[in-house]
Structure formats: structure tokens, C-alpha cells
């Protein structure tokens, strides 16, 4: 999910990252307290990694991984994260190592992490190499589907020494997804256009976890592209006429403003979904392959298939109550205990999204 940067931007960024790599001589200084054991694992990019056990100090280089660490209840071991890691709000208070694309390797080293977590689509291989020079272990995830996200959570939990929590978090996500399927599986999927960017129009391809998340929400993207973030021809959209436009917004009101803007333009006016204001707005959690994506999927399903949710519990309050119960089963209460103090209990607080999505802000 790396944004396609201008070549010059890459050049400049690589210069920064090269400058940040200290020499071998220095690297000895950075070695953390001698670990008692190592564990050999193959990460999701196929790289074999030696991870010191137990993992006491973690640096996360992607917002979705930070969220996963919090979901596993391991936030006390998180010693650093990126500028984009804004959820849960507590993550903003952690030591910052820079952006996900251009983190400061020096700052990472100064935090003496046992393990640095990364995501292939968001971070750069250069960072891995720089960390290798410093003998800092790193593990990369690479989820392409919602099922991948579940297994990714379990694997991470196992590496971090909390396999049971991982299983319970993943099982809960799975259960919620299954409940959702019971409600909407019999309905024909809505044909949607997921809008990443409007001018020019950028959507999501078929092989991203985002497209898979749409499928779980009872939607199918009209864009059939093998590229991950294709620029789509507006004519194609006018030809295929999606039932709904889907926006992931970081600030409330962004999407409705955008649609009103589009409705004034001749090219967009002829899209029925724009003309009739058929659009769904979900939190930008959908952009992050982390446990919270399930909430975003539920949100979208509710907007696309309101009937499936109206039938059984007719009372809206009941619905919310049921939801809260589902949020906090006994098995998970342990994992989320630190959030009970929080005014908006995670992972259901859709009110505070202040930017920072995985698509490379």
C-alpha cells in the first residue's frame, strides 16, 4: 500500500535513510540486553528471522500493527511507533520514530527494541536492511485478505508470547464476521465503487485486503484490476454504474462534502450513485489490516443492507446493547482491560479518527 511516490521523492528519501544507517563499529553499542533464547521464524514475506525470546520491547512501524499490539493487550511492551499511529489515542503518546516510509533508524536503535514490526505494503525493504546492519530483528506481515489478517494476528500473538490472547481475538473477529454472513449472505451483493481519491479517480484492485473486506460486507467492487491502487477511467464507472460509492473518511463530513462537490461536475453528475447521493461512509479503519477492520466491515454492511439489520432487532437501542455485549466477551475482557478507562472503548469508537491511514498519508 505504498503510495506511488514521485521518483525524486524516493531518491530523496533513500538519501535520508542511508544517512541514518550507522556503521558497523557503532552497531555494537546498540545491542540490547543479552537474550536467553532465539526463535527462528519465517515471516509473511518469506524472510527467515531470528527473534529474541521473550520479546520485551517492541517498535511498530505501521498503524495497523500498533492497533494489533493494543488489541493483544501488549501496549506496555510497545516502546515506539510511527507518526501515523494514532489509534487508540494512547498510541499517540508513544515515542515516535518518524513516518512509516522514512523512519529514523537511529531513533529505533536508541529504543533498544527486541523486535521491530513492519508491513510489506507500507514499509520499505531498505528499513529492514538498515535494521539488519544493526542486528535488530524485524518481522513483516503481508495480509491480502481478511482471513490473512486473522491468521496474522494469531501468528504475531504467538511470536510475542501470548498465543491464547491471539486465538481469542481472532476467534472473536471470526465470530462477528460469521454473524454478519448469517444476516447478509442470502442477499445479492451491492455493486460498489470504493473511492480512494476522486480527482483523478483512484480505487482499489481485486487483490487487496480492502477488496476482500468489501466482499465480507456484502459488496463487490466494480473495478476489476490486478493493480492494487489503479487510476480508474470515469467512463468505465459511467458504463458500469455502481449502486453505491464507498468512502473511508478520517474526519466526519469529509465524504458528504466530497460528494456534493462531485455533483457539481459534468463528468460525475451522470453517475447515478452521485446524482442520487447513494454513498456509504465508513471509518478509515477499513484501510488498516488490524482487528478493528471487522467494525468497519459491519458498519459498511449496515449501510448497504439496512433491511438485513432492521428485521431481527427492531429496536435500535437493543441493537447497540447487543453489540456492546458482543464487543466484550469474558475471554476478551482481559485483553482490553486497559481500555475500560477510555471514554470510547476500543475497538468500537468510531468517533475519533484524526487521519493516519495505511494508504500512506
Amino acid at each position: 500500500m505504498l503510495p506511488r511516490l514521485h521518483p525524486a521523492a524516493f531518491a530523496v528519501l533513500s538519501v535520508f535513510s542511508c544517512a541514518a544507517v550507522p556503521s558497523h563499529a557503532q552497531s555494537a553499542t546498540y545491542s540490547s540486553t543479552e537474550p536467553s533464547a532465539f526463535r527462528e521464524v519465517v515471516d509473511e514475506t518469506g524472510r527467515s528471522v531470528r527473534i529474541p525470546q521473550p520479546v520485551r520491547r517492541i517498535v511498530s512501524l505501521a498503524p495497523n500493527l500498533t492497533e494489533t499490539i493494543y488489541a493483544l493487550g501488549l501496549q506496555d511492551r510497545l516502546v515506539g511507533d510511527t507518526d501515523q499511529c494514532d489509534y487508540p489515542p494512547d498510541a499517540q503518546k508513544k515515542a515516535k520514530v518518524g513516518g512509516g516510509i522514512n523512519p529514523s533508524v537511529e531513533v529505533i536503535a536508541s529504543l533498544h527494541p527486541d523486535l521491530v514490526l513492519m508491513t510489506k505494503s507500507y514499509n520499505r525493504l531498505d528499513t529492514v536492511h538498515s535494521l539488519e546492519e544493526l542486528k535488530i530483528s524485524s518481522y513483516a506481515t503481508d495480509p491480502h485478505t481478511v482471513v490473512n489478517i486473522l491468521s496474522s494476528v494469531k501468528t504475531l500473538a504467538s511470536i510475542l508470547g501470548v498465543p491464547d490472547t491471539g486465538v481469542s481475538v481472532a476467534d472473536d473477529m471470526e465470530k462477528r464476521l460469521e454473524d454478519l454472513q448469517h444476516r447478509i449472505a442470502h442477499l445479492p451483493p451491492k455493486r460498489v465503487l470504493f473511492v480512494v481519491w476522486t480527482q483523478p479517480l483512484i480505487s482499489t484492485g481485486q487483490h487487496t485486503f480492502l477488496a476482500d473486506a468489501l466482499r465480507h460486507a456484502g459488496a463487490v467492487s466494480i473495478v476489476n484490476s490486478s493493480q492494487d491502487w489503479p487510476q480508474v477511467n470515469l467512463e468505465e464507472v459511467a458504463k458500469l454504474q455502481p449502486d453505491f460509492l464507498v468512502f473511508a473518511e478520517s474526519q466526519p463530513g469529509d465524504a458528504s462534502r466530497e460528494v456534493e462537490k462531485l455533483a457539481t461536475l459534468p463528468g460525475w453528475k451522470i453517475i447515478h450513485a452521485v446524482r442520487d447521493r447513494h454513498y456509504a461512509v465508513i471509518s478509515d479503519a477499513v484501510n488498516r489490516p488490524a482487528p478493528r477492520i471487522v467494525s468497519a466491515i459491519e458498519e459498511l454492511a449496515r449501510q448497504l443492507h439496512p433491511k438485513a439489520f432492521a428485521e431481527k432487532p427492531p429496536d435500535a437501542n437493543k441493537e447497540t446493547k447487543k453489540e456492546t455485549e458482543k464487543e466484550n466477551p469474558v475471554s476478551r475482557r482481559l485483553a482490553f482491560a486497559p481500555f475500560s478507562m477510555n471514554p470510547s472503548p476500543w475497538p468500537h469508537g468510531h468517533t475519533r479518527f484524526t487521519g493516519g491511514c495505511l494508504c500512506g498519508r
Binding site: 489503479p230 487510476q231 462537490k261 463528468g267 451522470i270 498519508r361
Partner: protein
């Protein structure tokens, strides 16, 4: 100087206009929605007869609202960039001069990006919100032109070398600012920024924008064309031109401002479409000679043809996805430019 016969000018322009017409027809035909030439001809006839209401089919809507406005945009952008390039090359007596070298495009791109960053923080009515980015791009271009113009002045006179160098330095400085913004600003809008740097004609605008662009293009081109003779004389050298009674300073200022206006207009709607302002005037000069009275109109038509072809390719090569038109012009333009350069040397 050979006398300019109206017949010759008319013949050259007519030839290019016919080519442009066929290119536009082909551009209308190709795209995500297939259209037959017969249907196209029939509907074109209806439009000419004032019966456009009879075109009701879905594809008609697509062509009317998406494809045709886009081709129109390509024509204006291509013609503007090409005329601007021709003027800069004559003014600076440097065949390498074009809007990109002078930093004007980078300024416009930076303006657009600042607009993208600011937009979510301003509460604007939707119609104005859609205009904010192009407006900022134009302001960025105008500001850069002013700065580069003053950088290029030495003892009250514009010095070609200083101006070119000033432009190059300004361009690289502005690019650095853009990279800085892209890697630090935490905004959902950064995604769209990259596309401003590549040049793109897929943006949809309100009708008024097209009128504004067309009026700006005609005005600026007319101003430059009025000085076409002076530009010809300037080619033989500044002192010579002064001795022949040309008000060099006035011509420079007027043409410089008009050409910059053209660049600002083009970049504000399409981002940085490269090489058009560099290559097209060169080719037209090879074919039709370097008399600016014929070169300016032929370059305008040639630029329109080039950009419409490039954009059609950008639309159909990876359909239903798209390429940035700037990528197409750069891929074709850069080798062509090297070929022309080598030929000149030989």
C-alpha cells in the same frame, strides 16, 4: 525575411486543423465504452443541426459529459503549453527553454498541493471547493513567474542565462518543498498529490472553467501573436533588434507575462504535462520554418494534436485503468528530444 502570404499561412493551418479534426474523431471513438464511427458521425450531425436532445443513449451521455470535455481540455492544454514553449524559446534565444525549465510548472504543482492540503480545513461551498485546487495552481504559477522574472534581471535587464538558471534552481527548490510536504503532512490528500506531479487530464470541471480557459488562451495567444514580428527580429540578437526599432524590454515583458499565463492555465487544470512545450515547437520549426507568424499558430495546433493523441493513449493502453498523460508525453518526448538534439549537432 520572406514576406508572409496569407495563403501559405492558411494552407499550413488548414492542414494541421484537418489532422486535429481526425485525431479528435479517433479520440472520441476510442475509450472504455465502444462507439462506432457511424454512430459518432450521426450524432455529430445531430449536434450540428441543433438536435442534441435526440442523443439520449447512455454512451451519448458518456461522450458528451466525459470524453468530449476531456479532449477539449487536451486541446487547450496542448496548445497553451506549445505556444508558451515557442515564446520562451524565442525570448531567451535558447531552444531548451520551456515552462518546466523555468520552474513555472513546479510552482503550479506546489500551489495545487497547498490547495489540497488546505481544502479540508476550509469550509467552502461545493462549487468553490472544486475550483480551489486549479485556482491555487494558477496562483502558484503566477508567484513563481514573478520570482523567476526578478531573479533573471540584471541591472534592470533580463539576462537569458541568469533567467534560465534562476528557473532551474527555483524548480528544484520547489520540488524539494513538494517532497518535504508529501513526507511530512499527515493528510488524506497526499494520495492525490503524486498525480499532480505526473500530469493528468482525467479531472472533470464545471463548464465555466472551459470558457475561462479558452478565453485566457485566446487572449494570451493574441498578445503574443501581435509581437510575432518582433520575436523574429529578436532571434537575430537583442542589439540588432534594438537598432531596428524594436522596444525589446516591452516585448520581453509582455510576451513573458502572456506565456506564463498560458502555462499557469494549463498546469492548473492538468498538472505537469512535460515535453510538449519543448518538442512541438521544435518539430514545427523543422517542418514550417522559424517565422513566428506561422510558427505560433502551427505550434498551437501541433501541441493540441500531440496532447490529444497522448491522452487517448493514456486512456486506452491499460484500459479500464489509466496512465498519467504526463508519463506518455515523457516516454515519447524524451527520446524524440535527444534525437532532435543529436541531429542538430550533426
Amino acid at each position: 525575411m520572406r514576406p508572409l502570404t496569407f495563403r501559405k499561412l492558411f494552407f499550413q493551418c488548414f492542414l494541421l486543423a484537418v489532422i486535429l479534426f481526425f485525431v479528435v474523431i479517433l479520440a472520441l471513438k476510442f475509450g472504455a465504452v465502444p462507439v462506432s464511427l457511424y454512430a459518432l458521425g450521426r450524432d455529430l450531425l445531430r449536434v450540428l443541426l441543433g438536435q442534441s436532445s435526440q442523443i439520449s443513449s447512455d454512451y451519448g451521455l458518456i461522450i458528451q459529459n466525459i470524453r468530449f470535455p476531456r479532449i477539449l481540455l487536451g486541446i487547450i492544454v496542448g496548445a497553451s503549453l506549445s505556444v508558451a514553449g515557442t515564446s520562451f524559446q524565442a525570448l531567451l534565444r535558447n531552444p531548451l527553454a520551456d515552462p518546466y525549465v523555468l520552474g513555472v510548472s513546479s510552482g503550479a504543482a506546489l500551489g495545487a498541493i497547498l490547495g489540497l492540503i488546505a481544502e479540508p480545513h476550509l469550509t467552502l461551498p461545493p462549487a468553490l471547493g472544486a475550483l480551489l485546487t486549479p485556482l491555487c495552481a494558477f496562483l502558484g504559477a503566477a508567484a513563481t513567474i514573478t520570482v523567476v522574472y526578478f531573479l533573471g534581471r540584471r541591472q534592470g535587464q533580463i539576462d537569458s542565462t541568469t533567467l534560465l538558471l534562476g528557473g532551474v534552481i527555483t524548480a528544484s527548490f520547489l520540488s524539494a518543498v513538494i517532497v518535504f510536504l508529501m513526507s511530512t503532512v499527515n493528510s488524506s490528500n497526499t494520495r492525490g498529490m503524486v498525480f499532480w506531479l505526473m500530469g493528468n487530464l482525467s479531472t472533470s470541471f464545471q463548464k465555466s472553467v472551459y470558457w475561462f480557459l479558452a478565453a485566457g488562451f485566446l487572449l494570451a495567444t493574441a498578445v503574443i501573436y501581435a509581437s510575432a514580428n518582433d520575436l523574429n527580429i529578436l532571434l537575430s540578437g537583442e542589439k540588432e533588434a534594438m537598432h531596428l526599432g524594436v522596444d525589446v524590454r516591452r516585448v520581453r515583458f509582455v510576451v513573458y507575462v502572456a506565456a506564463s499565463l498560458l502555462t499557469g492555465l494549463a498546469v492548473s487544470v492538468s498538472g505537469a504535462v512535460g515535453y510538449v512545450g519543448l518538442i512541438v515547437p521544435h518539430i514545427m520549426r523543422l517542418i514550417f520554418g522559424s517565422d513566428h507568424r506561422t510558427l505560433l499558430p502551427t505550434a498551437a495546433l501541433g501541441g493540441a494534436i500531440a496532447v490529444v493523441i497522448a491522452d487517448t493513449l493514456a486512456r486506452i493502453v491499460v484500459a479500464p485503468n489509466e496512465l498519467a498523460v504526463g508519463a506518455v508525453t515523457a516516454v515519447v518526448g524524451a527520446p524524440l528530444f535527444i534525437y532532435l538534439l543529436r541531429r542538430r549537432v550533426a
